[in-house]
């Protein structure tokens, strides 16, 4: 017997077909094009572009920025989600809006805000200059911009989960004599670990790929403040297509590996949950 809620076959087939088509045209095709362009003249030029000192420095900088921004956002995201899901205080809704702000603001604007704050003509510019502290066109600026843009990922993944889970287990732990640190470590983190890892991986993927905000604060100093996405743009603008696509392919690979890890995690977590059910 057919279920009443089941859609007609032609409709579900049509929708699936449409989704696959869009995915092919918008996602798979460009990705394939990146790799084809990168290897258009074989492995040799692509390899040269990747091992170019400027490219290596860009890679190093990208990984360094992500290595700082992701842990900061992990801790900040957990704290934000905890506050929103577990505490009731005036301004809670405002906090939710603030957490989501980076999603709704163009990254370029985010970058410009930092220029406004720390640039030579900015609010803190003269003071920073007087104390010889370099924020813009240097690592601190890149890190700040990346943190801003990627802040929502961890918090946004955790908030619905923590709200749904409630805090009965935390209360049980409290009556059993656990202190706050023990409750966080032994009860709360294990409850949210899979979602947390997924959030961290998404945050990482975006941190490595961020272009707009970073482009504004970087200053494009080759070998110094160029991250991988910025390096790709420079190479492209200089008509070094193979180099641009080779570095882009590498960047895409980093993102794909991250997404692959996230999918593997989800499968693993489902298996574990299934094992317990």
């Amino acid at each position: 017997m057919r279920e009443a809620t089941r859609d007609p076959t032609w409709l579900s087939a049509g929708l699936i077909g449409l989704a696959v088509l869009i995915a092919l045209v918008v996602l798979v095709l460009p990705l394939a094009a990146v790799f084809t362009e990168a290897l258009r003249r074989g492995w040799e030029p692509a390899w040269e572009a990747i091992t170019d000192p400027d490219a290596i420095s860009a890679m190093y900088l990208t990984l360094l920025v992500a290595a700082i921004a992701v842990p900061v956002n992990t801790i900040g995201g957990i704290a934000g989600a905890w506050a929103v899901a577990r505490c009731d205080f005036p301004g809670r809704r405002l906090l939710v809006t603030l957490i989501e702000l980076p999603f709704s603001v163009s990254p370029v604007i985010s970058g410009l805000v930092y220029v406004l704050l720390f640039g030579a003509q900015g609010y803190f510019g003269p003071w920073l200059q007087a104390h010889d502290i370099q924020i813009l066109f240097a690592l601190p600026g890149l890190v700040l911009a990346t943190i801003f843009v990627t802040f929502p990922f961890v918090a946004r993944t955790l908030i619905p989960l923590m709200q749904e889970q409630g805090q009965a287990e935390e209360e049980a732990a409290l009556t059993l004599g656990a202190n706050t640190a023990q409750i966080l470590w032994h009860v709360t983190l294990p409850k949210i670990r899979w979602a947390l890892l997924a959030g961290i991986l998404l945050c990482n993927a975006r941190a490595m790929g961020e272009f707009g905000a970073v482009a504004v604060v970087s200053g494009h100093i080759r070998g110094e403040t160029n991250t991988m996405p910025l390096h790709v743009e420079i190479l492209y603008n200089e008509y070094q297509f193979v180099g641009a696509f080779a570095v882009a392919a590498l960047l895409a690979l980093l993102g794909l590996v991250t997404l692959g890890a996230k999918t593997a995690l989800e499968l693993l977590s489902r298996q574990r949950m299934g094992g317990h059910a």
Binding site: A168, E169, E171, A172, A173, L174, T175, L176, G177, A178, N179, Q182, H186, V187, P190, K191, H276, A277
Partner: protein
Amino acid sequence: MSVRIAGVSRRFSGQAALDDVSLEVATGEFAALLGPSGSGKTTLLRVLAGLDFPDDGRIEIAGTDMARVPARERQVGVVFQHYALFRHMSVAENVAFGLKVRPRARRPDSAEINRRVRELLELVQIPELAARFPDQCSGGQRQRIALARALAIEPRLLLLDEPFAALDAVVRKEVRRWVRGLHDRLGITTILVTHDQEEALELADRVAVLERGRLAQFAAPATLLAEPATAFVAGFIGEACAIPARILHGRLDSPIPGLSTPAGWHDGAVRLFLRPHELLAEAGDGPALVRMIHPSLGAATRVVLELDGHTLEATVPPGAAVPERGGRAAIRASGAIAFAEDGMRARLVAGNLPAHASAP
């Protein structure tokens, strides 16, 4: 340990969840907090556990004021409504949790912890589940795990929050008796929160009935049934039906005949509470309409009647003609509890029948 609750109030955004509640539970006693949802029973339990704090009043456990003692130092074991087991830990790890989180100086070594966990799991009769995870256990087993986990901290007071609500009816009765047996063996002062009067009356030495944040009565089950202190208790306990009546010219004027007039009561409205066994029905040309019939083995047949828009449960006495569904029935009362509007209370007994009443 003894528990003293003195004048405890708790307000949530202006609404009083607990309003000047005072009661004392003796060492080793099994007390129940009974009330409908919103009566404040769970709030009182949370206040005792230290998960919530009263706006007014004192909580004393074993004579010590608990106002400044946080939950984690109270040594109050709690079995939560849905057990709140740690899903990512095995059963043994769940039970061991309260011992493992102790400060190093008071923490038993791991061999001792293992021994205690084994002991507790044997106490709650599930030693074979030690390596399982909570999700792999049945509802009844989870309840035992939660109990073992709460007992691991050697609680001075054990709080049970609707612990049987998640169990199916058959398991519930059995587990209930087992829990009471365990209490009698261990002698830990226990407070049970429940909305199920049968559960409270069967399990507890004394039952505190809460009504909208106020303590209506705290007494032994038999006392609650025989001498309810307020109309609310009379209506809430023992399946009683409420019938409005009045005293007119010094005589009781009730839609149900058969009751004596309380001595010395003034004219005015009264409410009568009748338990099913106090309301007798018989097939015949009476005022009541028969809605439903519960046939029964051994015990007398119960019928559900409608009288002036009120639904009543009545008993057909042995030997009397059982009315038909949809037919009419004659009724009389063999006893009732009456409350006047000023709070006066009287137990009414079968009295002189007015001439027009047909006696079954």
